[in-house]
Structure formats: C-alpha cells, structure tokens
C-alpha cells in the first residue's frame, strides 16, 4: 500500500518536504489550520495566539500532567485561504534555530486534497537533528517505562 504521508529529505540538503493526500475537501483541510479550536484538537495543543494575516503571529503550548512541556511560536508571512501559508516556526527554550515553513494546499478532487510542507533549516546538521527527535523521544519514553519497571521491582523486594 502506498503511504499517505511522504517525507523527502535528500542527503546533504537543509530542507525537508512533507506531502500528504487527505480524504477531505480542500476547504476543510485549510480550516484545520485556520481555526484555533480545530488546530488544538488535531495537534493536541493549546493555541495561545493565532493571527492569520501577513505579519501576524501565532503561539501554542502543549501540557502534560498540568505542566507545560512544549511551547512554539512564529510569524506568518503569507496567508492565502485555501492556497498557502508561509510562516516561521520556533521552539521555545530549546537550542534550535528558527525554521521557515512553506505550506501549500491543493485541491485534487471535490473530496480530496493535498498538503505540501516545505521546511527550511539553518543547516543540514540542524535538519538531521530535528528528524531524529521522534526517535530520541521514543527512547526517552522507553527509559521512563524502564524506570517504572525498576521501581516497581524494588517495591516488591
């Protein structure tokens, strides 16, 4: 089966291209990015600010067990409904430079649409580091689980 989400990260380039075909009309796909309440639902985050206009800004934060664990923000440079969003993206409290994101929304049929996300990084090294984050997180989760197991074991003794 062909994968719905594709990631193209060429060796030695400081960019990533993510494409995804959705089983949704173009307008609905765009709405998922435009409406804070909807964005919150699929990103599992809390929108603090979302000014969808040229030179507007946005920020959101993600909490776990009542503590803020992740916060990101950026500036919107282009906002053309049902066509494109150009914005910066910056993770707060992390030694990671701001990245530039080009989002393009396309209609495929009346019921399907496509999103192309073109992300540019400060360097190849930073790009590669970002791509490894989900893996690092997986290991981190495994580590937490391991600690749980170990402390459970210790309690049994």
């Amino acid at each position: 089966m062909e994968q719905k989400t594709k990631v193209n990260a060429e060796e030695g380039k400081q960019e990533i291209i993510i494409t995804r075909e959705f089983d949704l009309p173009l307008e609905l796909l765009f709405k998922a990015y435009e409406e804070p309440e909807l964005f919150e639902q699929w990103m599992g985050t809390k929108v603090l600010k979302m000014e969808n206009k040229k030179h507007g800004s946005y920020s959101f934060e993600t909490s776990h067990d009542g503590k803020v664990v992740f916060r990101a923000n950026g500036t919107i440079h282009e906002f053309v409904p049902n066509q494109k969003i150009t914005r910066t993206f910056e993770m707060e409290n992390m030694p990671f430079p701001v990245q530039l994101e080009y989002l393009e929304f396309e209609k495929l049929t009346d019921e399907t649409s496509k999103l192309t996300m073109h992300i540019l990084f400060k360097s190849v090294a930073f790009r590669n580091q970002l791509m490894q984050m989900p893996f690092a997180q997986g290991i981190h989760m495994a580590h937490n689980r391991l600690q749980e197991i170990v402390s459970k074991k210790n309690n049994e003794i």
Binding site: Q3, K4, T5, K6, V7, A9, I18, R20, F22, D23, L24, L28, L29, K31, A32, L38, Q41, W42, M43, G44, L115, N128, L130, M131, Q132, M133, P134, F135, A136, G138, I139, M141, A142, H143, R145, L146, I149, V150, K152, K153
Partner: protein, 106 residues
C-alpha cells in the same frame, strides 16, 4: 528494504526499546536482562532473538555464558532514518483527517 522495515518493527515495541536501553550501558546475559522485566522469560528471549536478528544486538560468547551487547553502528543507522519522523507526521495528519471528518458531519 525488508530489513529496514524489520528494524522499525523491532524498535516499535516498548519492551524491546527498554531492552536496548538496558544493554546500552553494559553487556548482559539473557537472564540478567529478563530479571528487569515482569514479562515471562520466554517472551524476553523472543524479544532478544528479534533484536539480534535485525542486528541491533550482538551476541558474544563469554565462557559458558552468552552476553548481549548493543550494536552501536546499527543503532546510529536507525537513528538516521527518516521513518520515525514520517510516522510522527502521519499520526498527526491522520488525527487531522479524523477531526475534520467529524466536524464535517456536524
């Protein structure tokens, strides 16, 4: 190509990731590894077999005992792969699709 998928199936399992983490600091026997888990010993053996088959772990004969240690080269290779990143976005977009389908029905 097949191997690549197997590696990701191997690290998709939380117990297997915990094993990798455990063995990362020092080589251990199967028994020592198993003693860290509530899971039955044969289950841990199965996990070790999978991790060895896809070369994330290496076996080393040490007298009568077999020690498992991590294959750092293979681990690095896996970390370089795009797949976990792709999967993260795929999960996110699947969620978007589900949220918007529900919204559409309203």
């Amino acid at each position: 190509m097949n191997l690549r998928r197997d590696v990701f199936q191997a690290i998709a399992d939380p117990t297997r990731r915990a094993i990798l983490l455990l063995v990362a600091s020092q080589s251990m026997t199967a028994g020592a590894i198993a003693s860290n888990f509530d899971t039955a010993r044969p289950t841990v053996s199965k996990h070790l077999q999978i991790l060895t088959e896809c070369e994330l772990l290496k076996q080393e004969q040490n007298g009568r005992e077999i020690h498992y240690h991590i294959n750092a080269k293979k681990m690095k290779e896996v970390a370089d792969f795009v797949e976990p990143f792709r999967q993260m976005w795929d999960d996110r977009f699947n969620k978007l699709e589900a949220v918007m389908k529900k919204y559409q029905k309203k």
